[in-house]
């Protein structure tokens, strides 16, 4: 083991920070990630945090990746071990030849280290305590001091870090200079006492381009602002709360009347998820664009209303930031485990539209589009994010908006149309697409009013328990869902370099890991055509993609292969043709996992056919 040489890598390694929740490390760690971006080198950071406010272990992982692989990689090349609670596990997780950075103020017994790694001790507490007296300052600046030391060790340009600190504390000179001071304390100590830089280092590059660095929840909230949402009702739940909080802060900036200062939005923190979705449905019924953001347990609570939205045909947008279930599950861990729960939410025969963004840029686009779809289709639209996209900064293409775009408010009969004598039947399929016209309350004194209800009714919205009337309505809802198929974002397909009999289907946050895995698999000699599903109901190309291949892997982050089930169920596919590749331990899926699972399966297929062996 001792002959293991230290890992040497430029712009391609993983640093993990092990911290204590609530110690103020998050902003220093994010600063670290951002400074590498400023070197033109892509990074992909991930928060691994407990369901806790203060005291429990939390980790922040930064994948430095010149090649732009934004999925989690797995493994740690350098551990910044700041949490004694998790020391043993943290040290054990370092790759052979990796590095351990720790606070050497208190001596550690040699049994606490490994021989196959490089140990870097910096007396952080000693440096901090000799400089600061205030306990809170000591805690916060200790984080900046280790950042300074890492600057020296990884060869970061201190000017770029200073520039970032300058932007962060613009107008707060005292904080700015004290942070810069702390940075140099750490950097100078490392330069004077350690051999810098290490084998791991950052070198300036140009691989970031015009990409932006943003959390999916914030981008989705911005999509709601651009998409014209005026009513937001929500109930706090991890990992979705930051959607509503971001919507609030975006609205404060961009949604106040310049003359009166009044708000062109209404945000209500509901007493629970039932009230939140009720408010959304009431507002949408009355012609406003409204949404809620929640996670699995909230979806469970909302299901009665979701059925009402489906049956009474009321628009609603629900952003579901998925976390590991069932029940309370792992509230701070990621999964794609609500596919079935959302697709068929509520009692009775129901089906709902799901959108699967792969990153914050798509979260922004799909969030805005969700309001058009909800009003056009007069039903609930689910925006299916997950914790991995929602609560981590992700490098993605810049957000775009076409100023010529007009909102699609769907089929709304106006007072003028009613005056012209247009026949208004709230559930009348006038265009053959299953979508009826609606009127907003208060439209006309004598025409166009109707009684909305969750009970069965006829085409003119009159209460009816007649079987034929009920069935007629249910069949129209199926037609409407078929119409939706061509309105939702289509799947994207990428073919392998060489013709292949095998395909892979994936969706959402699996995207970057899948892209990377394709490269690994190609290197192993496996060719795969790819299809990224972006919405349910499935476009017809999903069935033809499956038909075009001998079999197709379906990669997803849940135990029960939920997307695969949905494809089998909705498209009548022979389940044998769809091979599930499932990752569901709550950590983000990695390229290593996908390539390993698919590669092993493919290798087994390469067994020499029996006939040949005999002859």
């Amino acid at each position: 083991m001792s002959v293991q040489s230290p890992i040497s890598s430029v712009n391609d390694f993983v640093v993990r920070f092990a911290n204590v929740n609530g110690s103020g490390s998050a902003s220093a760690n994010e600063l670290f990630a951002r400074s590498i971006l400023r070197h033109g080198v892509p990074v992909s950071p991930r928060n691994i945090f407990p369901s806790n406010i203060q005291g429990l272990p939390t980790w922040y992982e930064v994948r430095v990746t010149e090649d732009g692989h934004l999925g989690a990689r797995g493994g740690v090349d350098m551990m910044v071990a700041m949490n004694p609670q998790t020391w043993d596990k943290d040290v054990a997780s370092i790759e052979p030849g990796g590095y351990l950075f720790y606070d050497s103020t208190k001596p550690m017994p040699s049994s606490k280290f490994r021989e196959d790694i490089t140990v870097i001790g910096v007396p952080l507490t000693a440096i901090t305590n000799s400089t600061y007296t205030d306990p809170r300052q000591r805690q916060l600046f200790k984080n900046i001091i280790y950042l300074g030391a890492l600057c020296a060790l990884l060869d970061l340009d201190p000017k770029l870090v200073e520039q970032l600190i300058g932007e962060q504390y613009k107008g707060k000179e005292k904080l700015l200079s004290s942070n810069v001071h702390a940075l140099h304390l750490g950097r100078d100590w490392a330069l004077q006492n350690l051999k810098c830089p290490l084998g791991l280092r950052v070198k300036k590059s140009d691989k970031v381009g015009d990409r932006i660095f943003v959390e999916g929840n914030s981008a989705a909230a911005l999509g709601a602002v651009y998409g014209g949402a005026t009513v937001c009702a929500w109930y706090p739940i991890t990992p979705s709360s930051s959607v509503a909080e971001a919507f609030t802060s975006h609205c404060k900036k961009y949604r106040h009347d310049p003359e009166t200062g009044k708000a062109k939005y209404a945000i209500v923190q509901g007493e629970d998820e039932l009230a939140s979705i009720g408010i959304v449905i009431g507002a949408s019924w009355n012609g406003a664009r409204a949404f809620t953001a929640t996670s699995g347990p909230g979806i469970s609570l909302m299901t009665e209303f979701i059925g009402l939205s489906y049956f009474a045909e009321i628009p609603a947008v629900i952003m579901n930031i998925q976390r590991a279930g069932p029940s309370t599950g792992m509230p701070t861990r990621t999964q794609q485990c609500d596919v079935i729960a959302c697709a068929y939410a509520s009692h009775g025969d129901t089906k709902h539209v799901l959108l699967f963004p792969e990153d914050p840029a798509e979260a922004f686009e799909f969030a805005a589009a969700a309001f058009d779809l909800a009003e056009r289709l007069q039903t609930t639209i689910f925006l299916m994010l997950d914790l991995d996209i929602g609560m981590n900064h992700r490098l993605c293409r810049p957000l775009k908006w076409d100023d010529a775009k007009q909102y699609d408010r769907g089929k709304v009969m106006t007072a003028e149309m009613l005056e012209e004598g247009r026949d208004f039947g709230r559930y009348l399929d006038v265009d053959g697409d299953g979508i009826p016209y609606r009127t907003y309350p208060g439209t006309h004194p004598t025409k166009g009013s109707y009684f909305t209800r969750g009970t069965s009714r006829d085409r003119y919205a009159r209460y009816s328990e007649e079987g034929a009337v009920y069935a007629d309505n249910m069949q129209r809802l199926v037609r409407k869902f078929e119409t939706a198929q061509d309105m939702v974002p289509r799947p994207l397909q990428a073919n392998a370099a060489k013709p292949t009999k095998y395909g892979v289907i994936y969706f959402g946050s699996t995207s970057p890991a899948m892209d990377e895995a394709i490269g690994i698999l190609e290197a192993r000699g496996h060719q795969l055509d790819r299809m990224r599903i972006r919405a349910f109901p499935f476009h017809s190309s999903v069935a033809s993609f499956i038909a075009d291949h001998d079999f197709v892997y379906v990669v997803e982050q849940n135990r029960d292969a939920q997307l695969r089930q949905l494809i089998v169920n909705e498209n009548g596919i022979d389940p044998v043709r769809l091979v599930p590749i499932l990752h569901y331990d709550g950590t983000p899926i990695t390229a290593r996992f996908i390539a390993g699972a698919i590669g092993d399966h493919q290798d087994h297929l390469k067994v020499t056919p029996l006939r040949k062996a005999v002859t």
Binding site: L222, Y254, A275, I281, P441, R453
Partner: protein, 386 residues
Amino acid sequence: MPGLVPGIHDFLSPGQDVVGRDKPGHDVAGSAGAVMTYIAKPKFHHPGLKKNELGYTHRDYEGKISTLCAGCGHDSITASIIEACYELSIEPHRVAKISGIGCSSKTPDYFLGNSHGFNSVHGRMPSVLTGANLANRDLIYLGVSGDGDSASIGFGQFAHSIRRAVNMTYIVENNGVYGLTKGQFSATADRGSKSKKGVTNTDNAIDLVAIALQLGATFVARSFSGDKTQLVPLIAAAIRHKGASFIDVISPCIAFNNHAGSTKSFDYVREHNDAVNRLDVLVGRDPISVDYAPGTVQVVEQHDGSRLALRKLDADYDPHDRLGAMTFLQKHAAKGQIVTGLLYVDPDAEDLHTHLDTVETPLNTLDEQALCPGSAVLDKINASLR
């Protein structure tokens, strides 16, 4: 409304089947085998019907024919709502009627036939109404609920809509019993009262009026479906009140809760009704023409200019004293009395829109010009994320 002639109903489209009920009663529980649809009202009416200021007659405020039991207290409340809206000369289509599930929640189909109605989810009327109100602050919001809907499954939503000061008139048609499912106690049934089957209720009752007072409702009243002269002006005043108005209307269930031993029967409520005041609602600038004996009338001017003339029946009762009202209610409840009348009013109330500081223009009319920050702003946002 220019160009429109009010007064003629046309609920019945030509060629549409009208299927009546096969028997009176509760068509959810008792409808097995029967085909239920709806009953429209005949469109003929007396040509000489009186018209209100806007030229509407009573009939313009009516809806479909009630499918509740003959003699149901709820139908009297429906009639009172119609009367109040007529008296106030409200444009019928500018009211949004929202309800939950239950007998009471069916009634919005039986009044204001030209208004949009929403028979939503059990116990969830308050949230649906809150959302609707946020979308368009210009309509009048009438929430109709029952004691099962508001005191049990929807107790939380009732409470939170009140504490959020949603501008609405929230009417609970309170009969202390689940009618549609045939006579189970509701949470407002008094402890010690007997069900039709002879079971004694051992649970304590929820007094929604007391809760509404505690949670800051700015208009709180209780009335009795059998007393239209008291109820109609209360509904009218509540509609004109800007803020959360709550009216608990004791409304006996003729089928399941009108027997001896019930504390929500016609006889019991009549015997124990303790009205603290009588109300006249005065809209417009006309001087008060009714001849009141000196010292017996208290005039309250509401935010919208309407005036409430309160004829005091209890000389010491002060409807501006929230704490006093709470104490008064408790004392009288302990004596088995049902206190009715306008129990509390704050004429300077605020509402949720005030608290959220929303624009005067209804949110549902704002377009992309008003709502979308545009690509130039987005470019700046992108730049800040690098």
